[in-house]
Symmetry: C2
Subunit: 243 residues, 2 copies
DNA sequence: AGGAGTTTGTGAACGCGCGAACAAAATTGC
DNA sequence: GCAATTTTGTTCGCGCGTTCACAAACTCCT
């Protein structure tokens, strides 16, 4: 039996809209904190960095939560969006790979405030297991199964080197995790039905570099290719221990 | 005088393609490291996690670097993509905000191997200035101007709390930075011509949570909104010190 | 109560990106 | 040298997402 995709009546929300809902949620929170009780689509759009037509269309997928001639009640809309995203209660999350980045993530208090709770930190390195990071004792990666099943964890974060990422993902899927946030610079292969999102710092910087190059109008001579494609040496492993 | 966007003949590369070029570059590097000298679009597409038609179309925007009936020369194509992105030489980068995340980024060796060099770490906190992080002495944020002008830095990374992000961005633009990678959970307002990309962990997790909620078919009762929209308290500041 | 002024929600046009399908070009075998 | 095979580069149709523009609905003022 395949899981029904729409809990409510056949409302399907475009992926592009889903990706913006968290931005709206944050903007609403910011507005609420400055004491604003009501806002127009124009106000909220500005706060969220989008245009108001898009905002209204996005919100229209959720329902009619505004009042014509008035605008939106900040708290009410905030709750409706949070409910739609599914962050009215906390989701337990496990982080695998407690290197430099993993530790930074473990210390990230934004998790808790935005609907997530770091339940466990895991690593395969015996030197790391048992050490306390961000108030949690690092668990052995071998205990993933136990931890995940015990607490019904469905979201996992991968912060390992690229070389370990696929095997960690495989294991995560085996034990029942169905959403993965991947920080390792590697393409993950997962079965149907498993959601993967990736965060890749190098890629973001390279996209910026591309546009910078265009701005300056500088183009390399298309000829000599011995000019080294950056020094991509044997670092393909170690670097990912950090991000 | 507005900067011309296309260094070569009016070749314009779609944004979606630009975002995938770094992925291809990484896949090619991986292939090269396993000793493969030639690959088909099918091979590369698999390694990059896209379909081959899309890959070929993407590459066609760059030029005709393949050989029909044969495929692509791995090293040659790798160089061509690197040149197109602009990472045949290193870009100097400054990181502002040396908290938990900033330090993790500073230690990220993938910068160097992918075409970037962390030139300086800056923070406004006097307790942090002077401390050594990742082999660099943390500089005073007030010295941004000097550092940027001296080394022609055009790419800046913001890893500060959300509250400081906008003012840091403003200052960056003032001193001549035209591309910003923003890790702070805040919408940045920048002038025309300045590129901003954002990396937001909470948003990625919330997108996963949305789909998880759909999978499980669980829907909150649309009624009571006093059920707390997560505990978004006074943490809106502190948490961003970490991410 | 009614008109003027706001602001939402949505229908329709437009443009971009994706994927399939195919023609062109190269290699391989005979 | 020629046919068969492989694989690229490109053309075309389709669907998604964005934006415009406007009708519906609510408030406020007289």
């Amino acid at each position: 039996m395949t899981a029904r995709t729409s809990p409510e009546a056949g409302r399907v929300i475009p992926e592009a809209t889903v990706a913006r809902l968290p931005v709206y949620l944050r903007a609403l929170t910011a507005l609420a904190e400055t004491g604003i009780r009501t806002c127009s689509s124009e106000d909220l759009a500005t706060a969220a960095g989008v245009n108001s037509a898009k905002l209204r269309k996005d919100l229209s997928y959720l329902g009619s939560y505004g009042t014509r001639g008035v605008g939106y009640d900040v708290d009410y809309l905030r709750y409706q969006i949070a409910r739609e995203i599914g962050v009215t209660h906390d989701w337990p999350v496990v982080i695998v790979g407690i290197g430099n980045l993993g530790q930074a993530l473990a210390n990230y208090s934004g998790f808790r405030s935005r609907g997530f709770r770091v339940l466990a930190l895991l690593d395969a390195d015996p030197d790391l297991v048992g050490r306390e990071v961000a108030g949690l004792a690092v668990s052995d990666f071998a205990d993933l199964d136990e931890i995940v099943r015990e607490h019904d964890v469905v979201i996992g974060v991968i912060a390992t080197p690229a070389t370990s990422a696929q095997s960690v993902a495989d294991r995560m899927v085996e034990v029942g995790i169905s959403s993965i946030l991947n920080f390792a610079p590697a393409v993950l292969n997962v079965p149907e039905g498993i959601d993967v999102r990736k965060v890749d710092l190098s890629i973001e910087l390279q996209i910026l570099a591309f546009h910078e190059q265009r701005k300056s109008g500088a183009a390399d001579v298309p000829g000599d290719m011995d000019a080294a494609v950056a020094t991509d040496d044997a670092d393909t492993d170690e670097l990912e221990e950090v991000l």
